[in-house]
């Protein structure tokens, strides 16, 4: 027969402080666990959303990042003539040859020596249609032939001079901010976009870094890849845009995940010790009670289950509390350098329902692990001796 849960509830009320401390300890572990994974999630999500399945990214052969690539105008026109490119309503191919450089800017709140390498992407007018996830939320697109830029939403407010109408200075020129854009939380939001023909002369001269092409038929990626890489006039590598950006984030994403696991597992050891301590104390305080329960005919297995449940519930409450503590982190923006591309990437903590659930499960596991040995001891109590 099962021991009623009300017994556990009443017992817990007998020692509110130590129960609360245990639950709070577990809450802290769960909060850190969720926050760290939310960070890793946000980072990976930023890159997972950057590329599109339907887009093809073309780099110079051997280049593993846009920064190290270089393609001439001839390459750009060859790619634009590809039969695989989708066409805009006006009949022009959806191909965007782009300049990709890093400009050192000073973040608000840091001293002027502290420079952050921000991506400046010189796009063609087609880029707005090639990249379906990019939307101008404020202002108008930069006009061709002028020193105008559009700033990603994660840059706005973190760097001075990013409001519409203000200007940013880099490459020896002032650039007027005419719009802000969002890109579904992707890494593009950490970029500054201007016109490629404006960026070329002030940065690296007559060369593009990458060419992005929208496929006419999304399923024809392999064909397009073969055709472009096989073209004797081009020395290029062809990537699926989505895969390319995911691969750019792998190193840092993996580090973040490993760090999250490592830190929380060490913390969890501490919290499990706490749970073990509390439950052992609970068992020894209630020695005579347990003996009575056993005398009344409760099966030792019921006693075991009862104590395990108590521990698990305390931990679950702690876990829920941890979720609450971690929740405000959702949406916070953190930034670091993605060493794979050498550029700054800002990303939001993403606390997802799945992550909260994982935190709760983690808490309950800690509770069960921490409660197991004390509960087993309770169940194995020699009745006669304990009744004394």
């Amino acid at each position: 027969m099962k021991i009623p849960i009300i017994y556990n509830v009443r017992s817990v009320r007998q020692r509110p402080v130590s129960t609360a401390l245990t639950a709070l300890g577990i809450a802290m572990v769960v909060a850190v666990f969720i926050a760290m994974l939310a960070l890793a999630n946000g980072f990976l999500a930023a890159f997972a959303r950057t590329g599109s399945e339907r887009n093809v990214l073309i780099l110079r052969r051997g280049a593993d990042a846009e920064l190290s690539s270089g393609l001439g105008r001839d390459a750009a026109s060859l790619v634009a003539a590809s039969p695989h490119a989708a066409l805009a309503p006006d009949g022009r191919p959806l191909v965007s040859p782009e300049v990709y450089v890093l400009v050192p800017l000073t973040r608000i709140g840091t001293d002027t020596n502290a420079l952050t390498n921000v991506v400046a992407r010189g796009i063609s007018e087609r880029a707005w249609d090639v990249r379906a996830n990019v939307t101008v939320v404020d202002g108008r697109r930069p006009a061709s032939g002028r020193s105008e830029i559009c700033v990603g939403s994660k840059i706005v407010g973190r760097f001075p001079g990013t409001a519409i109408g203000q200007s940013l200075r880099f490459a020896g020129r002032d650039w007027t901010v005419v719009c802000h854009f969002t890109a579904g939380g992707s890494a593009f939001e950490s970029e500054i976009w201007g016109e490629n023909e404006q960026f070329m002369p002030v940065f690296r001269g007559e060369a593009f870094q990458s060419i992005t092409l929208r496929l006419k038929d999304g399923a024809a990626f392999e064909e397009a890849k073969r055709a472009l890489e096989g073209d004797k006039r081009l020395t290029v590598d062809v990537h699926r845009e989505s895969e390319f950006y995911v691969q750019q984030s792998q190193l840092l994403g993996r580090i973040l995940r490993i760090l999250a696991m490592l830190i929380t597992s060490i913390m969890a050891v501490g919290a499990v010790f706490g749970a073990v301590n509390t439950m052992y104390a609970a068992v020894s305080e209630r020695t005579s009670e347990i003996a009575v329960l056993l005398t009344l005919g409760f099966h030792p297995r019921s006693v075991l289950a009862s104590f395990l449940a108590e521990s698990a519930i305390i931990a679950a409450v702690g876990g829920a509390l941890g979720c609450l503590i971690a929740l405000p982190a959702n949406g916070l923006v953190a930034s670091t350098t993605n060493w794979a591309s050498f550029s700054e990437i800002a990303f939001s903590f993403r606390v997802t329902p799945g992550l909260l659930l994982a935190g709760l499960v983690f808490a309950v596991v800690m509770g069960v692990v921490g409660g197991f040995f004390p509960a087993r001891r309770a169940a194995k109590l020699p009745v006669v001796q304990a009744l004394r």
Binding site: G25, N113, N117, G270, T278, A281, S335, T336
Partner: protein, 380 residues
Amino acid sequence: MKFLPLVLANLGRHKRRTALTTLSVAAALFLFASLQTVVTTIAAAAQFGNVRRIVSMNATGIVFPLPLAYANRLRAVPGVEAVSWANWFGGRYGDNKRFFGQFAVDPASYLEMYPEMAVPEDQKQAFLREKSAAIIGRRLLDVFGWKLGQDITIQGTIFPGDWTFTIRGVYTPTDPAINDDMMIFRHDYLEERLGRPGIAGWYVARIDHPDNAARIGKVIDDGFRNSRAPTKTGTEQAFNASFATMWGNVSLLMGTIGLAVVFAILLVTANAMMMSARERIGEVAVLKTIGFTDRLLFTLVMTETALITFTGAAIGLVGAKLLYKGTNFNAAGFLPGFDVTPRTFVVGAAIAVLLALASGLMPALRAARLPIVSALRHVE
């Protein structure tokens, strides 16, 4: 001190609890030391820099090169004693699972500029003789199992193609902030294969006196202001600091997590101490009856807590130190000189003291203030 056996006996009563509490304190301090060391290592990298070295880079950004012809003009600037230059190569070795930095440097002037990179004289001469020679950091010998004289092929990502170098030397950094897993090779080799584009990534200059750094930097930048590639010159320390700041919010993040860890463990320790105090109400009453003063009882409980937290803290801090020192950890080259600093030890010790106070104070006060008569009722 004569009561030490009593304290030890109390600790020994619940061996499991004492051990678990000590270990959780150890785990917390270990984590704290590790996280803090990330912060201090990044900060140390930002501080590193010889006061007599200044760095000139392209004003548009570090990723843009400068003309090689600037070397002569830099040498002519009054106060500049020596000039060297380097270029980021950014190659991939093998499957690229383990990344390391490669730099094309002007061989003679670079080694002379950086005495912190100690290279045996005969290896230095071999490097200066042979165009495709390379010098690698000591760590790379272990990482890849390379040997002196071995040929290695690196795929260029910025400069396309396969590049083969012969390892002619191994350097040992004399300053922990210098990465020991870099590879340097000859800039003239790079120039030759690229068809002499005449570019350098950045220039390093040694100046006559640290106080002149700002003035000389200004002279250099003014001289190139209206050229095609304007420069931005600063101290070597500022140059390194700009890389360190690229970590962004990492330091803040590590610090915050460190605090959360310490707080979580505070709860666990406080809990354990309160539990043991509660169990001993009867005992304390007996001790009071036989003449133990309130103050002595307070001290006894505090000593017990202190023993647990200090032992745990020592295990955690020393464990972190030994682990990172023993395994020569440097986060795959990202955090060179990763070592628990004395300052971290001091902060860790302070945390242990706070932990002892915060978790021991309540039980100790309770023991000291216990009214004997009511407490004796608990004694069976």
